[in-house]
């Protein structure tokens, strides 16, 4: 009797001692918030915006690959002989459907779109002017990413806008298996988003964030790519006249000090002027929108400056072409951004001049926290010039052309041609102004130009690029095709 009681007592004790509260099995993460509680106030929305902008800084978006592609795949730059293995497929026009750069751009662009949609579709924060501003910024970023996706993975609008573009994503749906929307539809969505953004943004928070006129400037670029010159002109002039942004003149823009030395290790070169700055600007000079890297939050060795920087642990894999360098007149201050270091300056690169890029670094600082300029006023002014050209108004075309040209070369008499030569002048001025900013490739593509891609001036091989070359359009990543039965690949892959 006693022993049985003992048994019951002990069994009871065991289970009493043993039972834990149900909350014992509930653990909350230390560094994350559950999604429904993520954006509840305006300051939460600012935090969400910061996260969205940070995603644009990804090395394979504006962090490095998008700007680099625009120059390396055009006639501005090439990958040197001794290299770290980066961007070889772009340099050689040699893609297969698993190309890492194409896949990274595709995936990361849609991640940024997801972050933008989280903000745009938020319903928990009550409306206010600030919220309208923030949602406007998100709309602009969503537009920017759809635009970049569409022109990277689809053919140029100017060839045929009914061809497949990319899927438009405006809400989060984890089961979505979308088909490709037509290029026309994607651009329509982009314009809608930018218009809405323009209408609801009222604040200017600095060049690292979208603002009313940055959205309008982007819209001008979109119209330019569409070949819609009337709208391009309206948008560009709106920015030029009303935004309050100004160009810098002469040495305020570039003012080099130091020397390149006999080799990278003895370089003390600093481009000076506007381009030496590596912090976000609140003044309205030159740049309407840029993606910020700060000393703590940056891509480290994968920062854009490092792919151009010859000394100090930079990869220095990408150099400019002699043909680009030859465009500048000796009095053009912009030549200070792309100096010629002479032959043999870069190890392993034999027999050619070494044309460097100093837009993203200088000799005294590591290229970790230089910004990627996404939209600059100079670009918009040149769009205005091109729109006037397409309207047959050569006078105004030259006027706007010289607005840029004469600020950069103070002793330049000015462009004054007429007829088709004006377009050639505009393209040359664009090439000189926007070198190494990822713009040149798109100018060539949208105008359906043919050119010779020099893979390496030291070696004889070149590639003739003409419209229809499959390398002009990235392959849809094979992983997307495998996961999404509604997706259709681009021809040739």
């Amino acid at each position: 009797m006693k022993s049985r009681f003992k048994i019951y007592f002990f069994v009871a004790t065991v289970f009493l001692l043993a039972s834990c509260k149900k909350s014992f099995l509930t653990d909350n993460p230390y560094t994350a918030v559950t999604l429904p509680n993520a954006i509840l106030s305006e300051s939460d929305m600012v935090v969400a915006l910061n996260g969205m902008y940070a995603s644009l800084r990804n090395t394979d978006l504006f962090g490095r690959t998008l700007p680099v592609k625009g120059d390396v795949m055009a006639d501005n730059a090439y990958v040197t002989t001794a290299n770290s293995g980066r961007y070889l497929t772009l340099n050689q026009y040699n893609f297969n459907n698993a190309d890492a750069y194409a896949a990274a751009i595709w995936a990361n662009a849609y991640v940024s779109i997801k972050y933008a949609n989280t903000i745009i579709n938020n319903t928990t924060v009550p409306a206010s002017a600030n919220v309208a501003q923030y949602k406007g910024e998100a709309l602009a970023v969503r537009a920017l990413m759809h635009f970049e996706l569409c022109r990277n993975f689809g053919t140029a609008y100017t060839i045929d806008p009914t061809k497949p573009g990319v899927p438009i994503v405006t809400t989060y749906n984890q089961n979505a298996l979308p088909a490709r929307n037509t290029i026309k539809d994607v651009y329509a969505q982009v314009i809608t988003d930018l218009t809405a953004a323009y209408n609801q943004m009222t604040l200017y928070r600095g060049t690292g964030y979208f603002s009313k006129y940055a959205a309008r400037a982007l819209q001008a670029r979109v119209y330019q790519n569409m070949g819609d010159w009337t709208d391009a002109q309206t948008a560009a002039l709106d920015v030029i006249n009303n935004s309050g942004w100004v160009l810098l003149s002469g040495t305020a823009y570039v003012n080099p000090t130091g020397s390149l030395g006999s080799g990278p290790s003895s370089s003390t070169y600093n481009p000076g002027g506007y381009w030496a700055g590596n912090a976000q600007s609140s003044t309205k000079n030159e740049t309407l929108f840029e993606v910020i890297s700060d000393p703590v939050n940056n891509n480290g060795f994968d920062q854009i400056g490092m792919i151009y920087l010859q000394l100090g642990g930079g990869y220095g894999d990408i150099l400019g072409l002699q043909s680009l360098y030859n465009l500048y007149s000796p009095t053009d201050v912009r030549i200070g951004l792309t100096p010629n270091a002479g032959a043999g300056y870069r190890s392993g690169q034999t027999g050619t001049n070494t044309i460097l890029c100093y837009k993203y670094s200088n000799a005294s600082t590591l290229g970790f926290n230089y910004q990627t300029k996404v939209i600059r006023l100079a670009d918009i002014i040149l769009i205005a010039a091109e729109s006037y050209y397409n309207a047959g108004d050569y006078t105004n075309a030259n006027k706007y052309l010289n607005m840029v040209a004469q600020k950069r070369d103070l002793s330049f008499a000015g462009w004054s041609d007429t007829g088709p030569q004006v377009l050639a002048d505009i393209l040359v001025e664009r090439q000189k102004e926007l070198a190494y900013e990822g713009s040149r490739f798109w100018d060539l593509v949208r105008l359906q130009k043919s050119w010779t891609k020099i893979t390496n001036p030291a070696v004889a091989t070149t590639i003739s690029v003409a419209p229809g070359n499959i390398g002009l359009v990235f392959p849809i990543p094979v992983t997307e095709l495998a996961a999404n039965p509604n997706m259709v690949q681009n021809p040739g892959y």
Partner: protein
């Protein structure tokens, strides 16, 4: 007490009682008193007449005393136990004919008593006897009663090898257990698979239970290339390792038992005179020779091939000469292999003391272990200690306490992959024309094109970078056992595991990853604290009076919590190379901390019916819950059932003399794999995506509100046979392991903004055979030959994929129904076109046509797998008098290994890197048949991209361990006043046979057989002394 006495006593007492009764008259008193006297004298007389004292000593077959051995008079309950020195003294009745002497793990022996007053008995160890006790989940079991598939590896096997951790030692010792040593880094993690690959995305490692605690295992470091929690445990302190393989054994571990369970028990001490043991061992480590196909080119060859490829690219010979001259002229010919590898030393010193009496036993040890790898800059130093004490406070109450503090320091350069500061990577990638030293003898740090423009001088890196991890760990256990009744015991256990890793990583300012930043320093602090509480009741009963049907039951409750805490700091820009701590640096880059926890709570139970030891039925059940599971599936049920039939105990079997034991067993059970991320099911919004100095937040955790454990259902049928009284033992198992609800990061359309979602959608199965033989073919007075052989066959097959998917790309593998998880899915190499020297691939699986366009060749299922078809071990020990010689072989056949870095090291796709010697076989003249295409500078024909060209046969046999021991003679030992003295020499990995002569590296790579420029496997030769006193 003798049987006859109680009766007499009762009568005597009755008489005494009546004497006291007041009703008795005097005469009657006298009569009764006399009767009492007679009774007493009878009793005493009986005692004097019937008992005699037998003294004796019980030893084992080596002459060592066996304390606590049971000495019983046969046919009675009269008995005693031996003292610490093995001696006993027992009073036996005259009718006693013999004594039965037995001890745990030694079986029993009968000794005739006729005419003797002293006996000495020698018992032999029953390592293969079915009475042997094995540790199972939450208890112990006699091998004869076992219904599950498990293997025990005893402590003496674990003391015999100069390896850092016990999981390395298990290779080849357990059928069905594949243990891959992929790195020679001391203290490296070891990959173990029991009965095949268990999961796509979760860990396939087994659960480790150390002294009852389900520990956090594996590599817990965050900066160091590889560390291993088990490397903190001195193998010398291990009593036994039980490997639980089938569901009957592992279902009691519920949601964590699917991949098998390895139970490690440390030495608890043996009662008896305190025994000391001192062990000293020193030796050398080198690496085996590189297979000839993998030897890098020398300078002259490298330059010649460079020039040849340059000319083949369409340039003139003069241009080729100029280009090659940039790199060197052949006067500098550096053998990087020799510079980067070295002869490392190794030493260990272990001291232990164990002893006690029938109330208290203890085991205390201390150990020092230091091993230098065969690659510069890499070593492990370990100080470890174990204290285990058990005390019996009373007949009912006993408690034990165990504490194991360990400190170790591991220096480990980035030791895998293409990190530029991986010294092994540098052996292959650096050009032989680069000089390691300047003419004045200092290290070359030049960054010109000919020198280290993009790669690093590994000698400088090792000398000036710091990669070190200090690991401090404590494992502890406190246990209280209370015998409520004779057959009901309550045990309460509290165990803990504390692991503290302090990792420091410094890149110097002159050369290497720190150059651009003027020095980079990282300090990471990682702390894991885990506690494991169990409360358990064990019950034993005889269900029938004649004890034919016995019943054992266990029921318990367990709660586990693990808390991880992490601090990370990085800063750049150091003012001087002599100060390397981050406080001196000027630019802080990272300063962050975070944590990660998980909890488990479970109720478990086990029951076992045994009829006459012939028919045994067992069952277990565990209900497991975890914080890792989504609330929709918070708890899971994990039952198992198994049975065994000891045929040898049947009457019809008694005639079969040569089979001494035969058992058939079968089991079926459900287990799980719960190694999900701690917060994986939660849809989260994360922070840290900062922008312009301000905090940023992003929706980056896709989560899954239906997420649960992966489930494994395993069937096992096996037999254990013992022939010729244990001279030959066979164990055979057939198993089928079905794994469902496989968590699978199944690909989404990336337009969603996530690439994958984790969901329980797949299924897979492993089935196979395991066969183990242990035998003693020769046993004479002076010479014994023991051998052990095991072989395992496993077939893995994917059986279910997420809906809508016919295949899922997994790097070089492709998961598809009907195919092996690790079947290579690649383009098929078709050799080199003899006419042009161009590379060729087969267009498709039919192999009917070839193409020179890599993109036009399809990836196909090659039928070649990274998992071996058969593997196992073959162990022999020869003992002649005092000398014993043991060999352990490990063999592995049927898998293929991929060279993942082939892209850079073959042909001239990357002309500025070093090359394998196989490049000398390149095509040069039309009509030449060779497997290496024409070398073309900077070629873009993808000739070195992934294809079956770089799949090599992974077959090998390795002499894992060879040991020669000389035990000093008994007289010498006595003279020196010791209890034992032996000298030994050991070698590990001394000989390997590789079957594919084109493979450029050792075929033992990761479990997925993809090379990763890991440190070379260690060849060690050591010698040592063991002294016992």
């Amino acid at each position: 007490m003798q049987q006859i006495q109680p009766y007499l006593c009762q009568s005597c007492f009755k008489i005494l009682l009546t004497l006291h009764s007041s009703k008795t008259k005097n005469i009657e008193i006298m009569r009764k008193f006399l009767t009492l006297l007679m009774c007493l004298s009878l009793v005493v007389g009986q005692v004097w007449a019937q008992n005699r004292t037998i003294k004796g000593k019980v030893t084992d077959d080596k002459g060592n005393a066996i304390p606590q051995a049971s000495v019983l008079v046969k046919g009675t309950t009269i008995g005693t136990t031996t003292a610490g020195d093995g001696s006993f003294s027992i009073s036996v009745p005259a009718t006693a004919k013999s004594l039965v002497i037995s001890s745990l793990n030694f079986g029993s022996q009968e000794v005739a008593l006729a005419g003797k007053t002293s006996v000495s008995v020698s018992l032999t160890s029953t390592t293969t006897n079915l009475d042997e006790v094995v540790v199972v989940g939450y208890g112990t079991q006699k091998k004869g009663e076992a219904t599950s598939s498990l293997t025990k590896v005893g402590g003496e096997k674990v003391e015999q090898v100069p390896l850092t951790s016990v999981d390395q030692i298990l290779q080849g010792k357990v059928a069905g257990l594949q243990s891959a040593t992929f790195s020679g880094q001391p203290g490296a993690n070891q990959q173990i698979r029991i009965r095949g690959v268990g999961s796509y995305t979760l860990s396939s490692q087994p659960l480790y239970v150390l002294d009852g605690v389900q520990i956090n295992s594996g590599d817990l470091s965050r900066l160091t290339t590889t560390t291993n929690v088990l490397a903190q445990l001195n193998p010398d302190d291990i009593e036994s390792v039980s490997v639980l393989k089938d569901a009957a054994a592992t279902a009691v571990y519920g949601a964590r038992g699917s991949n098998g369970v390895i139970i490690i028990t440390t030495k608890q001490g043996k009662a008896g005179k305190t025994q000391f043991k001192v062990n000293t061992e020193v030796g050398n480590n080198t690496h085996g020779p590189l297979p000839s196909a993998g030897v890098p080119l020398g300078a002259t060859d490298w330059l010649n091939l460079f020039k040849e490829s340059y000319i083949n690219a369409g340039n003139s010979a003069a241009a080729a000469a100029t280009a090659a001259a940039n790199y060197g002229d052949g006067t500098v010919n550096t053998n990087w292999t020799n510079l980067v590898t070295r002869v490392g030393t190794q030493q260990q010193y272990n001291v232990s003391a164990q002893g006690g009496d029938d109330k208290t036993t203890f085991f205390i040890s201390g150990g020092y272990f230091k091993q230098q790898a065969n690659v510069i800059g890499s070593d492990l130093t370990r100080y470890s200690s174990t204290i285990n004490i058990t005390h019996k406070a009373s007949k009912k109450l006993s408690f034990s306490l165990g504490l194991r503090p360990t400190y170790s320091n591991e220096n480990a350069p980035l030791s895998n992959g293409s990190a530029f500061s991986n010294p092994v990577m540098e052996i292959y990638f650096l050009r032989p024309t680069m000089a390691a030293f300047n003419p004045d003898g200092s290290l070359n740090t030049s960054r010109t094109a000919a020198q280290f423009s993009s790669l690093y001088n590994p000698l400088y890196i090792v000398a000036h970078d710091i990669h070190s991890a200090d690991i401090f760990s404590i494992n502890g256990k406190a246990e209280v056992k209370y015998n409520i009744l004779n057959n009901l015991t309550f045990t309460s256990t509290a165990g803990l595991q504390y692991q503290d890793l302090e990792e420091y990583y410094y890149n110097n300012t002159v050369m290497g990853d720190g150059y651009a930043a003027n020095g980079r320093g990282y300090s990471y602090y990682t702390r894991y604290f885990l506690w494991d509480l169990t409360n358990q009741l064990d019950y034993r009963a005889n269900l029938t009076k004649n004890k034919d049907l016995t019943f054992n039951a266990t029921v318990g409750y367990e709660a586990i919590q693990s808390r991880g805490y992490f601090i990370s700091a990085q800063s750049n820009n150091f003012p001087t190379p002599s100060l390397v701590y981050s406080t001196t640096a000027s630019t802080p880059i990272t300063a962050s901390n975070s944590g990660s926890d998980y909890n488990f709570a479970a109720v478990y139970s086990r029951a076992n019916f045994s009829y006459k030891g012939k028919y045994i039925l067992s069952g277990s059940f565990r209900r497991d819950g975890s914080s890792r599971f989504s609330p929709a599936h918070q708890y899971g049920n994990f039952p198992a059932i198994s049975g065994a039939w000891n045929i040898s105990k049947e009457n019809f079997f008694s005639g079969v003399k040569f089979i001494s034991d035969a058992k058939i067993r079968a089991s079926y059970g459900v287990t799980g794999n719960a190694e999900l991320g701690n917060y994986q099911w939660i849809q989260t919004y994360g922070f840290g995506a900062n922008y312009n100095g301000s905090p940023g937040g992003i929706f980056n955790g896709i989560g899954n509100t239906n997420l649960q454990w992966e489930s494994g259902k395993q069937t096992d049928i096996g037999t254990d046979l013992s022939f010729l009284k244990g001279r030959l033992n066979l164990t055979f198992d057939y198993y089928k392991r079905k794994i469902d609800q496989l968590i699978f990061a199944f690909p989404l359309s990336q337009t969603v903004g996530f690439s994958t979602i984790t969901a329980n959608v797949g299924s897979m199965q492993n089935s196979g055979l395991e066969f183990t033989i242990n035998a003693t073919p020769i046993k004479t007075r002076n010479f014994t030959w023991d051998l052990g052989f095991n072989i395992s066959f496993n077939k893995n097959q994917v059986t279910g994929l997420p809906p809508g998917q016919t295949s899922v790309l997994n790097g070089q593998f492709n998961l598809a129904v009907g195919h092996d998880f690790y079947e290579f899915y690649m383009r098929q190499w078709a050799g080199v076109d003899p006419a042009t020297g161009n590379p060729l691939w087969y267009v498709d699986a039919t192999k009917s046509s070839t193409t020179t366009n890599y993109n036009a060749a399809a990836r196909v299922f090659t039928g070649k797998s990274a998992s071996p078809k058969e593997f196992g071990g073959f162990n022999n020990t020869f003992t002649y008098k005092q000398i014993s010689l043991g060999f352990d072989f490990y063999y592995n056949y049927g898998n293929y290994v991929q060279d993942t870095w082939a892209t850079y090291l073959n042909d001239e796709v990357s002309p500025t890197y070093g090359k394998y010697s196989s490049a000398l076989n390149r095509w040069t003249t039309p009509g030449q048949i060779t497997n290496t295409p024409k070398l073309v500078y900077n070629s873009t024909n993808f000739s070195t991209s992934a294809s079956t060209r770089f799949l090599f046969r992974g077959d090998f046999i390795r002499l894992r361990n060879i040991q020669l021991t000389y035990a000093a003679s008994k007289s010498l030992v006595k003279k020196l006043k010791l209890t034992s003295l032996s000298f030994y020499a050991r070698g590990s990995n001394l000989w390997t046979k590789i079957y594919d002569n084109t493979i450029p590296f050792d075929p033992e790579q990761n479990i997925n057989s993809q090379s990763n420029l890991n440190f070379f496997i260690n060849k060690a030769v050591t010698a040592g002394i063991v002294v016992g006193f």
